[in-house]
């Protein structure tokens, strides 16, 4: 046989490719010996965030019922994932959230009211993405996944130490963009972590109608990406698994696909009627595995939950809730002229004309209103 170039060689068998497969059981730390090895400061910090997160979900849900938000997709039941995701990011890293991931954005340090801008019904995305290194909340499913890859790739080309973390739902893994993003990430070896919160439903569609795979984490190997399965209600496990993935990415080890098994306790959004597609028993089952309770139990069992810690966590949560009530109680007052301000860097003649027309209408309206006084 002749000597050939690498490209032509029959594919090298990758001896250790099974390391790309997830374990048969999701990674769990709570309830195992490993739990006690984790720094107690970290554990208490995660606890505070869980308490805050739960309060956030409850408060925003309540405000939505009062008509203060246009829509709220809650993460009640998924707080361990949200907390874990925010906690593992370095200041220079970027978070790519979906519509559901407001909590992780808030825990990243973005002002909650700014975070909720779109969901209040305002026309823009709120916080400045470059300041916080948080992409805008993304609604078209999985479309932000290639963005996370592109940004990580760009940073790597520039020699910057940036890892991107893309949050995505179980349903969204069926979209073509999810597939294309994973493949680009693998080929580019971009420092990107894909974090699937498998909450078992895409609106009403259960996981069994979404995929026939042993797990979503099993998709990793098809791209040459390690797939990891983790108990998404075990905040210590989520934190540990994501930390490892972030570190591997940072060290040049490329992307990781993490699937967290969790559950959405609330309906898809306030507009959804979840009783149409799931049983109370099912919800009750997951409520028994509540991520906040699970960690609380661990803290109690290990004597880490002194009354001071508990009180401070609760106080911080109440403070945030009060602030939300106050500030979301005030109507946003967007300027109609904003319709035209940012469509292009430089306004087209056509838009200029349209803006003038609207301005004239508004002037006439306010004259009319003024005349009526």
């Amino acid at each position: 046989m002749t000597v050939v170039t690498a490209a032509a060689e029959p594919r090298p068998t990758i001896a250790d490719h099974t390391t790309l497969l997830p374990g048969d059981e999701p990674v769990r730390i709570l309830g195992t010996d490993q739990a006690s090895t984790i720094d107690s400061g970290l554990v208490r910090g995660l606890y505070r965030q869980l308490v805050l997160g739960r309060r956030f979900n409850r408060q925003v849900t309540a405000l939505t019922k009062q008509g203060r938000l246009a829509v709220y997709p809650s993460t009640t039941g998924q707080e361990a994932c949200q907390v874990g995701a925010a906690a593992v990011l370095g200041p220079q890293d970027w978070l790519f959230p979906t519509y559901r991931d407001t909590l992780s954005v808030v825990l990243r340090g973005v002002d909650p009211v700014e975070t909720l801008t779109l969901l209040r019904g305002d026309w823009h995305t709120g916080y400045d993405s470059r300041v916080h290194r948080v992409a805008p909340l993304c609604t078209p499913l999985a479309t932000h996944c290639p963005h996370a890859v592109g940004l990580a790739h760009a940073a790597r080309l520039r020699g910057d130490d940036v890892v991107t973390l893309a949050l995505v739902g179980d349903g969204a893994t069926s979209e073509g963009d999810f597939h294309e993003a994973l493949n680009f990430a693998a080929v580019y070896q971009s420092p990107t972590v894909f974090f699937v919160q498998n909450n078992r439903y895409a609106i009403s569609v259960p996981l069994s109608k979404q995929t026939a795979a042993p797990s979503l984490a099993h998709k990793g190997i098809g791209y040459g990406i390690p797939g990891v399965l983790v108990d998404g209600n075990d905040v210590l496990a989520v934190h540990t698994v994501l930390t490892e993935a972030m570190e591997r990415a940072r060290a040049g080890g490329g992307p990781t696909l993490v699937e967290a098994l969790t559950y959405r306790i609330d309906a898809h959004t306030n507009a959804d009627d979840a009783t149409r597609y799931r049983t109370d028993d099912e919800v009750a089952f997951w409520q028994e595995r509540d991520p906040v309770t699970l960690l609380e139990r661990h803290l109690r069992e290990t004597g880490m939950l002194d009354s001071d810690t508990e009180r401070r966590a609760r106080d911080a949560a109440e403070e945030m809730a009060a602030d939300l009530r106050t500030r979301l109680g005030v109507d946003a007052t967007p300027d109609p002229m904003d319709l035209f301000r940012h469509v292009y860097a430089e306004q087209t003649p056509q838009l200029r004309e349209q803006q003038t027309r609207l301005a004239a209408e508004l002037a006439a309206e306010s004259e009319l209103a003024g005349g009526g006084q």
């Binding site: 026309w123 009403s204 149409r276 597609y277 838009l351 209408e361």
Partner: protein, 337 residues
């Protein structure tokens, strides 16, 4: 609200009746099964016809439309739901490259009797990506039919016709009108796709519109009447095919026309309508054909949407700008200058 039936219910009834009448009709999409769709248009179909006939799919719009193509190749008659207007975009390649072209390129051997239901338009307080008016993309694509209903009766009739059509139909459901009520009893549709209807007949100006903005134009027409303008309103119902005769006849009589839709104006459907009227009624026009449309900006979510959407005031204003009586002189000055 008076009336016995909502448009949503009429659409649901149309699907049920079509499925009863023809076992090759299959409904599928995201959340259309157990949940009955986020707007409940498919409510009860899975229960009546089983999961094989009304199925939840994995969450992938290209996959939904792509499998529909395969099912149509085998002789089925798929009716798919795109959950919201903007969520039909992932299926664009399947739509343009296959659904629209398959009959033509196979010389009729593989027709594509697929109905694609797209709840479209704004005004329901939806956040980003839930209020697009995407009809221009579809009407420009040869091989597709594009229809939209504005009344409860038409919702039923047009959907039945769309499902019965041997060609692909984009069925635009005006989501703002889902809860519009009318006294109505289901009855087999008689008119084929492609006929506009004169909703209101008048002699001095014609409003040409479809779907979401039909009620806006009807209201504007009623108000204009008070000002002595006798206004026609044409509900196109079908954008492709386009009922030129009905439109031209009315415009030639009135001499003035305004085209109204929610989508952005630039290269929107209104451009085609205005260009056609201008060309074919040239010597009958007393004034330029005007358009009242959404601005050329991304759809602004709820807090600002009322400024974007064409309302009665803008339609009335356009009517007033049609160079009536006193204006005319000024205009002729401009020409002779």
């Amino acid at each position: 609200m008076s009336g016995s039936t909502t448009m949503a219910r009429a659409l649901n009834t149309a699907l049920r009746d079509a499925m009863r009448a023809d076992p090759t009709v299959h409904v599928f999409g995201e959340d259309v099964g157990q949940l009955g769709g986020v707007f409940r248009i498919t409510d009860g179909l899975a229960a009546e016809f089983g999961e094989d006939r009304c199925a939840d799919t994995p969450l992938a719009e290209a996959g939904i439309l792509g499998t529909a193509v395969g099912m149509a190749m085998y002789g089925l008659r798929p009716v798919v739901e795109m959950q919201f207007d903007a969520f039909a975009y992932p299926a664009f390649e399947q739509l343009v490259d296959h659904v629209a072209k398959m009959r033509n390129r196979t010389r009729g051997n593989l027709p594509m009797p697929i109905t694609i239901r797209v709840p479209y338009g704004g005004g329901i307080g939806g956040v980003e990506h839930h209020s697009d008016s995407s009809e221009a993309y579809y009407v420009h694509t040869p091989g597709l039919h594009v229809v939209s209903s504005a009344t409860v009766a038409d919702a039923y009739g047009l959907l039945r016709q769309s499902i019965a059509s041997d060609d692909p139909v984009i069925f635009l459901e005006p989501k703002r009108l889902y809860w519009t009520r009318e006294d109505w009893a289901p009855q087999a549709p008689v008119e084929p796709i492609g006929r506009a209807v004169v909703r209101r007949s008048g002699t001095s100006v014609v409003l040409v519109t479809y779907g979401q903005t039909v009620p806006v134009c009807m209201e504007a027409a009623a108000l204009a009447q008070a000002d002595g303008r006798d206004v026609s309103v044409i509900d196109l119902r079908s954008l492709v095919p386009f009922d030129e005769e009905t439109v031209y006849a009315a415009v030639r009589r009135a001499g003035r026309a305004v085209v109204v839709h929610e989508a952005s104006g630039f290269a929107g459907v209104g451009a085609e309508i205005a260009a056609r009227i201008s060309e074919n009624c040239f010597h009958h026009l007393e004034a330029p054909v005007l358009r009242v449309t959404g601005f050329d900006v991304p759809y602004p979510p709820p807090m600002l949407e009322r400024h974007h959407l064409p309302g009665t005031d803008r339609v009335l204003d356009a009517i007033e700008r049609l160079q009536w009586a006193d204006d005319i002189e000024r205009a002729w000055h401009a020409v002779s200058a």
